[in-house]
Symmetry: C2
Subunit: 173 residues, 2 copies
Amino acid sequence: MSLRHALLGLLAEQPASGWDLSHRFDEVLGAVWPAGHPQIYGELRKLEQEGLIAVDSEGPRRRKAYRVTDAGLTAVRGWLAETEVDHTMRLEPLLRSVFFWLLTPEQRAARLREEAEYYDRVGAMYRELCAAKDRGEYGDSPQTHSLRVAAEAGARLNEALAEWARWAQTYDR
Amino acid sequence: MSLRHALLGLLAEQPASGWDLSHRFDEVLGAVWPAGHPQIYGELRKLEQEGLIAVDSEGPRRRKAYRVTDAGLTAVRGWLAETEVDHTMRLEPLLRSVFFWLLTPEQRAARLREEAEYYDRVGAMYRELCAAKDRGEYGDSPQTHSLRVAAEAGARLNEALAEWARWAQTYDR
DNA sequence: CCCTGACATGTCAATAGCCACAGGTGAGGT
DNA sequence: ACCTCACCTGTGGCTATTGACATGTCAGGG
């Protein structure tokens, strides 16, 4: 259910093709909701059949850009405002950490170091994204405002995990 | 691939039946890797066929407890130490936040308040779990040590999200 | 004119995960 | 003897997700 609404949400911003959407997932949404292009093209077809989106324009190379219909816009809004949030988290690194006692202290330390590095890197990326937005590099539309809020979450989450991984190393000794 | 290794990891701790494992998922692992019992029973059968686990004992009510074999133990260790970590995060609440500009400020504020409450609650739960372990309520086996580390991540993650939701409310004004 | 690379859309098969339903068993109470 | 509840293991069908494969097009350089 999330993918379809994510697509509607992106299309609410501006008309886009499957290709465009696929790239926006890779760049932006992929961090919280990954989706490959086969899934996207498939879902777009269903959305069109249901009348939630419509072909906006056709371009070269079979390019088909879609836009949301009124029904589609109503659907996303309803999803956002009225449906229950699914707080399920699926985080392999933490699943692994539950079983770290099976490793030697050295292996464990190595893993935690790698994790800390990873989260430092990604956290810094989000932090820079936030800074860029605050410098006005992305304008100040409502959309980028929301994106800024989401990026802050990305920064905080990754920073928290980086600190956790470092804490875990000292806790282990 | 994660479910099978999670099962092997749990069985490395002590022999258990599908029922037991299903409950451990609900209580502990479900927060980072949900799994329903049909999936678990199915995977157990495959693991047994592959010789990674073996029936340890049969009890009343068709209860079948499994234990890991040496091959199984090698497999989890290999997974933990040598395979690449999948950092994919699937977090619907954050996906939603990207589209919050589609809501009215009031709806947005309401959503963020609800999120903050939720994460406060869950974060506090993990914090208490950590405290209980630190009071020695769970002993100090290597397993509970790892669990303590994972619980710390749960606490930090949820606390970070709670603070984020509150920050987002003020940022919105 | 041909080649390459970025653009753009798809199919198909396989696996993973989810939900509803189904069915058998032992312990303890009445 | 009967009933109920907690225990315990499944099946079947659906949707979601992934990875490999397939196809075609436009632009620019050689």
